[in-house]
Symmetry: C2
DNA sequence: TTTCTCTACGTAAACGTTTTCGTAAATTTA
DNA sequence: TAAATTTACGAAAACGTTTACGTAGAGAAA
């Protein structure tokens, strides 16, 4: 098998304690023995066993990440940020595909606990009470990304309400008056309601009426964007723009419009949300209100790990409208 | 802190050995004590410490996955398959974003070794000698997904040569005669050369000449699809179809054609490779030769874990042309 | 020189399990 | 009933580290 610290100690004629001290560079040995030991280690190719270390240190240097689906564009870039920062800080990450399934999530939570992870980041899903209880029961730091909860759990997200407010204001400023919205899952208090709120607020602020027939609901996925776009177009014949709550749904809308031979942005403008790769690859390239997904992932592990010491707080990340080619300027309004 | 097996033992008036036996259901206790112990466990909410278990069992029930980028559509669905199967078999997975960086990959390999993972799956990247050496040095099972190597390491992949052969044959059978190809990274012996081989073979088989000006190289990414498409169109004015070595590059080509106001598939047909979500979301929906990415991931962990016992072999996965709307039938050829 | 303080280690316990070995009691067999 | 076997446990070692504690010797301070 592999060599252990004992083998190293023996070969270097020192005790395991000394080897351990050298490995962790604690004081307590001469320069000479250090060199000797290091030499032996290199020679044998010894590598410490992190499991044994974890047992005694009660730290595994690994994080658990729970997300609805790793193959989801949105989640996967968050994951990417998480992974990068974790790597930077010498942590490993275990991924868990919850499939939005409560049972499955609980199983993962249990597995993560048994494997003694040092922290958990929970991405983009609704954070159920059940999860919260499980996590505080295991007394682990958690941080939420792109979601939040009524419990006092730090989160990293953009201010959705403000973000869609800005998005539809952007449309209004360009002369759009009849603006539809494809929202997310109906009734979702985290991912849908605030966005609708932002949409309404923007309209009201400029003195435009809110018409509920101009709001359709999807599930953030491509297919739902298609059907929601259809629904919107069927119910309204004066729409000049549609705000979509995810880039994927925007892509769905684009797809539907293409099928209907409705030109974008000439006949209808589309604006997405997220700024994932799908926005970039869309035809035409999708104007969208971007979230700093990667940064959010990085940030999440930063606050997660800082929490081990002083409690760090939730952070609202900045959003930004990235202009591409799906919104038409009907009439440019003065903006200060 | 958390309860340990000792706490359980004490409270149940048995020894830790008995508790352990019950937990692992080994024989050696009466039904009565079993009930009692289980009751105590439930009551205390005891959960075994997998780290301690790992130390003694020399099994951690976790796998390492190395991939170029988790945010890559391709890799992320493979990962999704890996994760699902791992979960099914009660394994956890640690993800490692190699960024295609050799140094970084080696660091991950070391971390995985220290953390005593039970196996490694290596996705889609070129498997360097250095990696191979490190992995056999740590004497761990590996399996490659969507890549292979000159060493005797099991792999899961489709037969690229055959797959693109079928793809361009598909084009030929529909009357296309001047077919361009956007290949992957120039010179890549795994991901590019066999595909070019397949392309050439298909042309030759039907008696068509191979013209090197009809081959452009990219890097599998969207942007490179744009530039490669431009290159192809600039160099050839008779192209009726382009075979792309990845869906993303196909999306890039689509994007370029859109910009040039060249209609797809009316003026030029496009066929992609992979059948990721981007094919589905493309405008128009992309015809592509699909790889069973998710299944490949699942399969990978199956053979990885089977290897622990009898050596299981590499497997070639089936590919399949999924027809959508980017190839035009110029003239239907008889096909038996 | 004596005492004190470091330095440079080594010994052994501890972390939370699993598992080997041993054994008393229960059960079966003779 | 006696012997043999089986059942139902418990004690303790082991996994590979870290770390508290102890100590011999070197050097400093007195």
């Amino acid at each position: 098998m592999s060599y252990t610290i004992k083998d190293v100690a023996k070969k270097a004629n020192v005790s395991v304690a000394t080897v351990s001290r050298i490995l962790n560079n604690l004081p307590g040995y001469s320069e000479k023995t250090k060199e000797k030991v290091l030499e032996v280690i290199a020679e044998m190719g010894y590598q410490p066993n992190a499991i044994a270390r974890g047992l005694i240190n009660k730290k595994t240097k690994t994080l658990g990440v729970l997300l609805p689906a790793v193959s989801d564009t949105f989640a996967s870039v968050v994951l990417s940020g998480i992974e990068d920062m974790a790597h930077e800080l010498d942590y490993s990450v275990m991924v868990c595909n919850t499939d939005k399934d409560g049972k499955r999530t609980m199983k993962y939570l249990q597995a993560l606990r048994e494997k003694q992870v040092d922290g958990i980041v929970f991405v983009s899903e609704f954070f159920k009470e059940e999860y919260y209880n499980a996590i505080i029961a295991m007394n682990l730091p958690v941080v939420l990304v792109s979601t939040k909860s009524k419990y006092d759990v730090p989160f990293i997200k953009v201010d959705d309400k403000k973000a869609v407010f800005d998005g539809v204001t952007y449309l209004l400023e360009r002369g759009h008056r009849s603006i539809g919205m494809i929202a997310g899952t109906k009734g979702d208090p985290i991912a849908t309601l605030p966005r609708i709120e932002g949409y309404k607020r923007a309209l009201k602020e400029k003195g435009h009426p809110v018409d509920r027939r101009k709001i359709a609901f999807g599930d953030f996925g491509f297919e739902s964007g298609i059907t929601a776009a259809k629904e919107l177009l069927d119910k309204n014949d004066d729409l000049t723009a549609i705000f979509c709550s995810s880039d994927e749904m925007a892509a769905g809308a684009l797809s539907y419009l293409y099928r209907m031979s409705i030109r974008v942005p000439d006949q209808i403008s589309i604006i997405g949300y997220d700024n994932t790769k799908v926005a970039e690859m869309a035809i035409p390239p999708l104007t969208t209100v971007g979230q700093p997904l990667y940064e959010m992932g990085k940030n999440a592990v930063k606050v997660l790990l800082d929490r081990e010491t002083g409690e760090q707080q939730s952070v609202f990340m900045p959003h930004q409208i990235v202009e591409r080619e799906t919104v038409k300027v009907i009439e440019k309004e003065e903006t200060e």
